[in-house]
């Protein structure tokens, strides 16, 4: 969406990584809800027809079946549109997956406002708040192609439930050759800075990077943290941001109430309070494309820059 850098649909690398994992490990299976096309799983189904279990349009059954497959020794990746996975099957996620601690990988496809004009029924802005409320459920939001590949591989190899978001619309690479691009349980500081910290997740990380570049031209040193793991929160990195910079901006494609902004604010206010601005999507969206809606809700590099100026002005 920046229009300059080459951009990638993370679902493509997601499916490619799953196929590679399935070739290595016969325990890897996919469970989905008539979502083979939208999850980009046609090739997986062609290669492993027995290991793609499509329950049809039945999300409660989908998550329960996945819990059963995990009980039977398999590593199921549940691939379904994020709003239907997390809302329709929330109690199955809570009881059958998280409380029972089954080895189920919950992959929320096309999260946030990715479905644009299809409207709030198809948007998934509440998922992070809902998943955050569950006890000890890792929440991973890969920001680009490299992070998606590494995060999926990590999820397959760790034992226990995970929730991850896999974006729909194309985003540029933000890992910028960092290796590894994804470190479990760690926030990734991708640009260092000393005046203000921008903590962004998923699709908004590239916008935070653009904002930092603009701020630099104004003489403002902005730190950018790619919070690819929201739970558990990397409190060491957040505390450093609170101590070493004057203000924190959070940017997410979800509700800030209980979302990423909420998570960081809960920690900052109890440990090292500094001025904060939480940027996200806190209401049902009007009609419009994903690009339009990101602008409508002020989730742009320009808006992040404006928030930084405002916070730093008050801080003086």
């Amino acid at each position: 969406m920046s229009g300059k850098l080459e951009e990638f649909d993370n679902r493509i690398i997601f499916a490619k990584t799953l196929i590679a994992l399935a070739n290595e490990d016969p325990k890897i299976v996919v469970v989905c809800n008539d979502s083979v096309g939208s999850s980009n799983l046609t090739e997986f189904r062609d290669l492993f027809p027995d290991r793609l279990i499509d329950v049809g349009i039945a999300e409660q059954n989908m998550v329960g079946v996945a819990a059963g497959l995990a009980n039977a020794g398999f590593t199921p990746f549940v691939c379904a549109a994020a709003p239907f996975l997390t809302a329709r099957a929330l109690e199955q996620i809570k009881a059958d997956v998280v409380y029972t601690r089954t080895n189920v990988k919950l992959c929320g496809m096309s999260p946030g406002i990715a479905y644009g004009e299809l409207g709030p029924t198809h948007h998934s802005i509440e998922d992070i708040a809902w998943m955050r409320a569950l006890d000890s459920l890792p929440i991973v939001l890969p920001a680009d192609e490299a992070q998606t590949a590494e995060a999926v591989r990590w999820a397959a190899n760790m034992i226990g439930p995970v929730f991850m978001r896999i974006g729909r619309y194309k985003v540029p690479s933000v890992s910028l050759g960092q290796s590894p691009a994804f470190i479990p349980n760690k926030a990734m500081r991708i640009i260092d800075g000393s005046d203000v910290t921008i903590i962004a997740t998923g699709t908004l990380v590239s916008r935070a990077v653009e904002a930092a570049a603009q701020l630099k031209t104004e003489g403002v040193s902005a730190r950018v943290i790619n919070l690819s793991t929201v739970s558990p929160l990397d409190t060491t990195e957040i505390l450093a941001a609170a101590k070493e910079t004057k203000a924190i901006i959070t940017a997410e494609e979800s509700v800030t109430r209980g979302g990423v902004g909420g998570a960081i604010a809960e920690f900052v206010v109890q440990n090292h309070p500094i001025p904060m601005k939480l940027m996200g999507i806190d209401s049902f969206a009007p009609t419009g494309s994903a690009t339009f809606l990101l602008e409508h809700f002020g989730l742009t590099a320009d808006s992040i820059v404006a928030s930084a100026r405002e916070l730093l002005k008050h801080g003086k």
């Binding site: 039945a58 059963g68 039977a72 398999f74 199921p76 029972t100």
Partner: protein
């Protein structure tokens, strides 16, 4: 196959005695549903299931998923008597920090397969374990035990439809058809019948049996299958104690000292 129903009835009697002790000791429990499901559990644990108390997680074990998790005490008593954990531990049921919660917890109790309690959860999980066994080709069978009122949850019918579609011949759904839900008869709340025809139309074979007849239950659990099988076990809520049988208030009533003694005496003779 000829089975020794005496062994099963001995186990059932011991399960009922432990249920009485445990619920009396804790001052809470779901005694009516525990007693209606007891003979089903005794038949499964006594003569059907391939499970090993010394190796409760062996990969080819049969899965038994108690979807009606509120009958936890019946399950705990069955597991303890089969040697999954000491019978003595039943005394801790519902006490602070006990492993034996009001609903079962897989991570704390050997032999429990899933943390059930909210209704309509066990059936999809059993469909998953049955598919997993087919993928693993290890001969494991899956049994899910549900209350009848629980079948009002839509998730069960998602699972039933999919199991029928997949022709899961290693899956048995047992319906503890005691005719009551928490507050009143199922027929007055949201009628389930014709339950057999509902399952048949979803691609299942159906056995309607007396849920307290060990030989009939054993046959329903072991006859060869060509489809997933629903065993509609016609049971009596509170079975085994005359003043509890068929009474809605015994869904989760706790017996008084006199009722406890009278119940123990009746059950002990069975």
């Amino acid at each position: 196959m000829v089975i020794n129903t005496r062994e099963i009835s001995d186990l059932a009697r011991e399960i009922r005695i432990q249920i009485l002790h445990t619920i009396k000791g804790a001052g809470m429990g779901h005694i009516g549903g525990d007693f209606s499901v007891t003979d089903i559990l005794a038949t499964l644990f006594g003569s059907v299931l391939n499970v090993d108390p010394k190796n409760p997680n062996k990969s080819d074990r049969d899965r038994i998923i108690l979807s009606k998790g509120h009958a936890a005490v019946a399950l705990y008593s069955s597991l303890a008597l089969r040697g999954f954990f000491p019978v003595e531990d039943l005394k801790t049921f519902a006490k602070p920090l006990s492993n034996l919660n009001g609903h079962p917890n897989r991570n704390k109790v050997p032999g429990v397969e899933s943390n059930t309690g909210p209704l309509g959860h066990g059936f999809p999980i059993a469909v998953g374990t049955a598919i997993g066994a087919q993928l693993a080709k290890n001969g494991s069978r899956s049994f899910v035990i549900m209350g009848d009122g629980e079948l009002q949850e839509g998730s069960n019918w998602e699972a039933a439809m999919f199991a029928g579609h997949r022709k899961l011949t290693n899956l048995i759904a047992v319906i503890d058809r005691n005719g009551f839900q928490q507050g009143s008869p199922t027929a007055k709340t949201n009628e389930l019948d014709p339950l057999d025809k509902k399952f048949e139309s979803f691609g299942w074979e159906v056995c309607v049996v007396d849920g307290h007849d060990y030989a009939a239950l054993h046959k329903a659990f072991t006859d060869p299958q060509t489809k997933p099988r629903a065993v509609i076990a016609q049971t009596t809520k509170g079975k085994g104690v005359d003043f509890m049988e068929g009474k809605a208030e015994w869904h989760h009533k706790v017996p008084s000292a006199e009722q406890y003694e009278a119940a123990l005496e009746q059950v002990g003779k069975q």
